[in-house]
Symmetry: C2
Subunit: 465 residues, 2 copies
C-alpha cells in the first residue's frame, strides 16, 4: 500500500513485543487499524504506520517515544485525522500514537479565561463542556479537529480575523521530546518575557519537534449579542473590495467569509439552502447589542457601496448554526460537484491589499481549467482556498491540480504572502518552503530540528524539504 513512498525497514519484532507488553490491547497492528491511521483527507497516497498505540497519558506517549527511539523507529502523533496535507501519513513507517483517548478537559479556569485540555479534546467538545460557563473557545477550522492537532498545525479558520490563530491562543503546553523527556512550556500568565518562546516553537511544528500531550488555551466571554448575515455580490471583485474596506476600517468583524458562485451552488445542493448563486460573503458580528448593530450597519453600507444585495440576517442561534454549518460543509459540498473525486486544496494567504488582485488572477487560472474548482475562504485574513476536484487515478488531472497550485502559490509569494495560511506544510507544501522563507531561514529550521530530534524520528519527512 505504501508503494508511493520509498521502502522502509520493517517493525523490529523486539519493539513490537515491548510495545505489546507495555500497552496490551492498546497496541494494535491489525491491517484495519493501521489503514485507518494511514489515510487523511488529502490526495497524498495513503501510508499506514506499522502499528498504533492508543495513548491514555503523557507517560504513555513518553514511554512509546523512548521504546521507539531505542530501535530507531519513527513515531507519528495522530488526532482527528482531518489533515489535508498528509501530516500523519507514515511515509517512513513507524508507530502512530493515537491521542484521541486523551480527551479530558483537565481544568476550566473560568475566572482566568483559560482551560487546560488533553490533546485529543476536540474544539466542539471543549465548547460543549464550556456551555454553562459563559465562555467559548473561538478557533474554528471547520472540521471538528482535536486541539492538539490544531496546535501542531497552527490552525485557524473562520474566527481568526477577530480572535487570532492557535499561535495567539495557546498559553502553555506539555510536550514529550524526542528522547522521551517531558517538558512544560509557557504557563498561565497572560504574558511573559521569561526566555525563549518554546510554546510558539512547538505550535505549527507538526509533530516533528515534540508531541503535545496537554495544552492550556485562551477562552473568551460569549458575546452578549451575535448576529450573522449573508450578502450576495455582483462579482468576486466587488465582494473582495467590500472585505478589504471592512478590514482597513478596523471593523472588528468576528467572521467574514467569501464563497464563490460555484461553491454556493454546491452548498445549496448539499445543505438544501436556497442562497442566490452568486459570489457571497458570510458575516458574523460579536459584541454588545448596540456594538453589533453599529458594526452591522457600517458593513451593510460598505457592502451596498460595492453592489452587495439582500443582506439576510440570522440572529437566532439555530439560524446562525444552520448558516455556519452550511459554510463548514462547503468542503464536502464541493466534493459532491464531482462524485468520486478527491479535493486538492490550495491555501494561500496574502496581505489584504493584494487580495483582490490575487483572487482575480486566480480566477483566470480557474477559467482556463477543465476541472471544476470552487473558491472560498477566510478573506478577512487574506486567506482563501481553491478546491481542485480531481480523480487521483487520473495523472492529467493530478498534474493540472499541481500546476494550478504552483501558479497560485507563486503568485501569493510574489505578493509577500504564504503558501499555507492554515493547513500546514505536511508533505504537500515542502517544495515551496525555500521559495517562501529563503535557504537561510530553512537552514535555521533544519538546525532546530537537528537540535531537538537528532535521529529524525519525530514524524520524519514532514515540513522540511
Amino acid at each position: 500500500m505504501n508503494q508511493a513512498y520509498p521502502p522502509h525497514p520493517a517493525l523490529p519484532e523486539a519493539l513490537a513485543d515491548a510495545l505489546s507488553h507495555r500497552f496490551g490491547n492498546r497496541f494494535a497492528a491489525s491491517q484495519a487499524v493501521r489503514d485507518l491511521h494511514g489515510r487523511d483527507e488529502s490526495v497524498h497516497p495513503a501510508a499506514a504506520p506499522d502499528a498504533v498505540i492508543f495513548a491514555e497519558s503523557t507517560e504513555d506517549v513518553a514511554e512509546t517515544v523512548r521504546l521507539c527511539r531505542e530501535h530507531g523507529i519513527p513515531v507519528i502523533p495522530f488526532g482527528a485525522g482531518s489533515s489535508v496535507e498528509g501530516h500523519f501519513l507514515a511515509i517512513r513507517g513507524g508507530i502512530c500514537i493515537d491521542l484521541t483517548r486523551m480527551d479530558r478537559v483537565v481544568a476550566i479556569h473560568a475566572e482566568d479565561l483559560d482551560a487546560t485540555v488533553q490533546p485529543g479534546v476536540t474544539r466542539k467538545q471543549l465548547n460543549a463542556e464550556l456551555h454553562d460557563t459563559g465562555l467559548f473557545f473561538p478557533i474554528d477550522p471547520g472540521a471538528d479537529a482535536t486541539l492538539g492537532g490544531m496546535a501542531a498545525t497552527r490552525a485557524s479558520g473562520t474566527n481568526a480575523v477577530r480572535y487570532g490563530t492557535m499561535r495567539e491562543n495557546v498559553l502553555g503546553m506539555t510536550v514529550v521530546l524526542a528522547d522521551g523527556r517531558i517538558i512544560r512550556t509557557g504557563g498561565r500568565a497572560k504574558k511573559s518575557s521569561a526566555g525563549y518562546d518554546l510554546t510558539r516553537l512547538f505550535i505549527g511544528s507538526e509533530g516533528t519537534l515534540g508531541i503535545i500531550t496537554e495544552l492550556t488555551v485562551k477562552l473568551y466571554p460569549v458575546p452578549e449579542a451575535i448576529s450573522s448575515a449573508v450578502c450576495a455580490f455582483p462579482s468576486v471583485d466587488a465582494a473582495v473590495d467590500a472585505v478589504i474596506q471592512t478590514i482597513q476600517l478596523g471593523v472588528p468583524v468576528a467572521r467574514i467569509e467569501l464563497l464563490d458562485a460555484l461553491t454556493i451552488a454546491a452548498v445549496n445542493r448539499y445543505s438544501k439552502t436556497t442562497l442566490k448563486e452568486a459570489p457571497t460573503l458570510f458575516f458574523e458580528f460579536h459584541g454588545s447589542p448596540s456594538g453589533v448593530e453599529e458594526q452591522a450597519t457600517l458593513v451593510q453600507e460598505l457592502a451596498a457601496s460595492h453592489g452587495g444585495m439582500d443582506f439576510e440576517w440570522a440572529t437566532r442561534p439555530e439560524d446562525r448554526n444552520r448558516l455556519w454549518q452550511a459554510r463548514h460543509d462547503a468542503y464536502f459540498a464541493c466534493l459532491q460537484l464531482k462524485p468520486g473525486s478527491r479535493a486538492f486544496p490550495t491555501d494561500v494567504c496574502v496581505p489584504i491589499s493584494r487580495l483582490a488582485e490575487c483572487i482575480r488572477a486566480t480566477n483566470e487560472d480557474i477559467a482556463r481549467s477543465t476541472i471544476p474548482i470552487p473558491l472560498f475562504g477566510h478573506v478577512g485574513d487574506g486567506n482563501f482556498h481553491l478546491v481542485v476536484l480531481i480523480d487521483p487515478a487520473n495523472p492529467q488531472e493530478v498534474a493540472e491540480a499541481e500546476r494550478i497550485n504552483h501558479a497560485v502559490v507563486e503568485r501569493a509569494l510574489a505578493m509577500e504572502g504564504t503558501c499555507t495560511g492554515e493547513h500546514g506544510v505536511g508533505i504537500g507544501k515542502q517544495k515551496f518552503l525555500v521559495a517562501e522563507h529563503g535557504e537561510g531561514a530553512v537552514d535555521v529550521m533544519r538546525a532546530l530540528k537537528q537540535a531537538l530530534d537528532p535521529d529524525n524520528l519525530l514524524n520524519p519527512g514532514k515540513i522540511l524539504p
Copy 2:
C-alpha cells in the same frame, strides 16, 4: 570598571584594526562612548564593551558579526539603552553594535495595517511618522524604546491588555545569525502555518540567538473615540477587584493601570498633578463613540461597586496625553522619592484570578520593609511592578531588595505566573528560569542556543543560567 564580573580577554588588536578599517569613525573605542554603552537603567554593575560599532545597515551588522566571530569575540546589540535587566551589559567584553542609526521607517503599508522599520526606530518616532495615516502602533512600554529592542525583549506595557505584546505584533523580521548570515523570518501575510515560527523564536531572545536588523509590525486604525479616566479606590484590594471583574466580563479596555498611594504621591510631586493620594486606576477606552461610552459606563458601575470614587475624565488629546505622561513618568517620579537611589524593579505577572491575593501578600512584604517601595503596573494583564528604591552602594539595601524580589517571584510562580511579564531575563532573572520552566524546558532553550550560536558569542551570559 568591570570588576563586578569575571575578567575576560582584551580586544585583539587585529580585530580592532579590521573594524576600524571597515567602519572608520563609526568604530569607537573611547572610554566615554564605551561607558555610555555599558550602563543601563538597572542596578546591575556597569560593564562597558571593548568598542562600539555604529551600524547603518544589515550588512554592517553582518560584517561586524563575521569579524568578531573570526576572533571569538562577543557581539551585543544596543538600542535605546532603557533595559532594566542588564540586557546589553558587556559582562564578557566584546563589541557593542549600536543600532540607533538604523532609524528609518522603511515602508508604511497603510492599506495592510503594517509597517516595516529598522530596529533603531523608536515607538514614538513610528507613531509620529504614522501621524497622517489614521493608524498607530499600540505597544507602549513607557520608555521611548526602539522597536528592535522591544522585539528582542518581548516588551509590552500599558496597551497590551487590548493589543497584545510584541509577540503578537511582529509579522516578520530580518535577522543576522551568529555566523553573519542574513535571514528573513515570517512575511507580510496576517497568518501562516508554513514551518517553524522563527519570528517568535527571535522575539524575546534578547540578542542571544541573532540580531534583529529590520522588522514588520502590525498597525491599528486610530480609534474614532478615545477616552481616559482616573478613579481612586479605598484600598488596593478594591481597585484590583474592579480590574478583575472588568477583565472577566470581557470589557475591551485599552489600558487599565494601577498606581498605589505611594506612587500617586510621587507622581503628584514629579508631574505637578493633584491626584488624590489613594490607590488609583488609570483607564483608557478605545472604540466608536457609543462603544466607548458603553464601556465607560459599565466600568464606572463596576468601579463604584468596589468603592471607586470621583471618575475624572480626560477626552481631549492634550488632557489624555498629560495623564499618560504622568503614568509613564511614574518610574522616574518614584526615583525622586529617595534622591540618589536606584530602582530595583520587580516584574511578576500572574493569572488574573490570583492578582488580588498576590498583591495583598506583596503589600505585607512592603509593609515589613524599611525601604520605600511604590507598586504599580499593568493589572489588566495580571502584571505589576515594585520599584524597590535602594542605594546600590549599601549592601543591606541591595540584600533587602533581592529578598523582596525573591519573595515576590516565588509567590508568582506558586500561582502559575512568571518571574518577568515584560522586562525580560537579562542578567537579573536567570536564577528563576529553572524554577519557572523546569530543567527540561531550560535544557531545550540551551539546545536552541547551542544550535544557533555554538560559540556563544551573541550577547553571552544573558537569559540562560
